[in-house]
């Protein structure tokens, strides 16, 4: 995938995912064994039993008298399965406890809200001035525990970044938390995993795990308000943004635009993708997106904008400056 971003439960990049992966390997081994054993027994039964046809006289000799050999075999089978199941159960519970053991010292706290069909992330901080909001993209420091507080704005969504941890549902009217840690740098793709309507398919979340110092640089930049556009085209674009529909729903910190219904665009140019992971973020896709999002993501709440192409260019140019 783009920027080498990973998406697989089999390539763990953090302790939780690693624990679960271990459990997967154990399960896979045991289940493969059992499968082979049962099908093997069936195969032998079919090979050794003599063949007959419908008319061959049924054997009723065993009625009323016990078949000790067969009974022993079956009893053994049941006992063996029970034993294996208990082993698996214990392993599962052990791993489950291990998942809860993640040390949370100086954890990074992020409030993640699910919307149809995008993610809103607010990075908490002791200093209110340091709290900032972004969307559809989480930057996290490698090696530092992350605590997500999960809430849903409309319907049930589910947070899932397979390389880092399992799922956690975002249920309206309830608050859930999930804690995980990335031990390797990289870009990991997350998905909404609970069916949430038309664009459930295009509700992705990019998680970028990077060395702490790079993360701090990113966070520092993210706290700043949007730069004022310098060249005239971008300035015109800002005017378009503020005077058209955009400002009704989007926020750009440092401008009058403070709509809260759609992703915060203060640093949109720094993101890998737009439309919650739907498109790569470049001027061409961006202008196509603004002109008619419904063609790209049918049902999305963003309306089509029949802007004159000059305005559209200006708008895209302006958004391009929001690094």
């Amino acid at each position: 995938m783009d920027e080498g971003s990973a998406l697989s439960a089999l390539v763990p990049a953090g302790p939780q995912a690693a624990h679960i992966h271990t459990l997967w390997l154990v399960m896979l081994a045991v289940c493969a064994l059992v499968f082979a054993a049962i099908l093997g027994a069936l195969a032998i039964a079919m090979r050794r039993a003599p063949c007959g046809d419908e008319t061959s006289e049924p054997d009723t000799s065993m009625i009323g008298n016990d078949e000790p050999a067969v009974r022993r075999a079956v009893t053994f089978g049941i006992a063996a399965s029970a034993a294996l199941l208990i082993t698996l159960l214990v392993t599962s519970i052990v791993i489950e406890r291990a998942l809860a053991q993640l040390p949370l010292r100086d954890a990074l706290h992020i409030r993640l809200t699910g919307h149809q069909w995008w993610w809103e992330a607010t990075y908490d901080d002791a200093k209110a001035a340091n709290v900032f909001t972004t969307a559809n993209e989480l930057h996290i420091p490698v090696g530092r525990p992350i605590v997500l507080t999960l809430e849903a704005e409309d319907v049930i969504h589910s947070f899932w970044v397979p390389n880092l941890h399992g799922k956690k549902d975002l249920v309206p009217g309830r608050t859930a938390t999930i804690a995980f840690r990335a031990d390797a740098a990289g870009t990991f793709r997350g998905q909404c995993a609970e069916f949430c309507g038309y664009q459930h398919a295009n509700m992705a979340l990019m998680v970028i795990a990077e060395p702490p110092e790079r993360y701090e640089r990113w966070a520092a930049a993210a706290r700043t308000s949007a730069p004022q556009p310098l060249e005239p085209l971008a300035q015109r674009g800002q005017q378009v943004f503020l005077q058209s529909t955009c400002a009704m729903c989007h926020t750009i910190v440092g401008t009058p635009a403070n709509g809260r219904r759609a992703p915060d665009l203060t640093h949109v140019a720094s993101r890998l993708r737009i439309g919650a992971g739907t498109l790569h973020n470049d001027p061409v896709t961006l202008s196509a997106w603004i002109a008619d999002p419904q063609r790209i993501k049918p049902g999305v709440h963003m309306p089509a904008h029949a802007l004159p192409s000059a305005d559209l260019q200006a708008l895209v140019a302006y958004l391009g400056t929001l690094k």
Binding site: T245, M248, Q294, G299, A304
Partner: protein, 185 residues
Amino acid sequence: MNIRVRAAVLVAVLAATAGCQREARLFEPAAGSAVTPPPVRMSDLQPGQSSPPPAVAPRYEVNAAALAAGKRLFTWYNCNGCHANGGGDKGPALMDDVWIYGGEPANIYMTIVEGRPNGMPSYGGHIPDEHVWQLVAYVRSMSGLVPVDAAPSRDDAMQSAPAENRRAAQPPVPAAVPPSSQTSK
């Protein structure tokens, strides 16, 4: 026989169109949604026939998806900031039968696009036509002027009034007081 088949087909087609109308999801902007706005009407008195409302309105008023979108936008564009949930606050109530500037879709369209004296801002240019028409349809549903089986059900929120699909229709009556002296309602 043959006739019966044709009749059956006809019925099926009619039913189908009815179903689609009620429930079709209008992802694409409506053709002709960019109608030229009709003249602003300050009163319901007029010589001769009343002017027909624009063709696009009905498409929204019978469509559950459009009405639901209108209900969502009513909050998103902060209409309830002044009109509360239709009960009225700084702005006039919308769930009653009094229409200061007329209750026809065209009138409501103009009210939203051009704004009105004493506080109703003009949203022209800030809201795409598509959304305006959805709001128009929803505003009319607030006083039960749209089919109940298309009107929105309750929200997952604190309840102030019965949902639009449980309201008795309140046909518009002429405003009791002249618009000029309107402050609240």
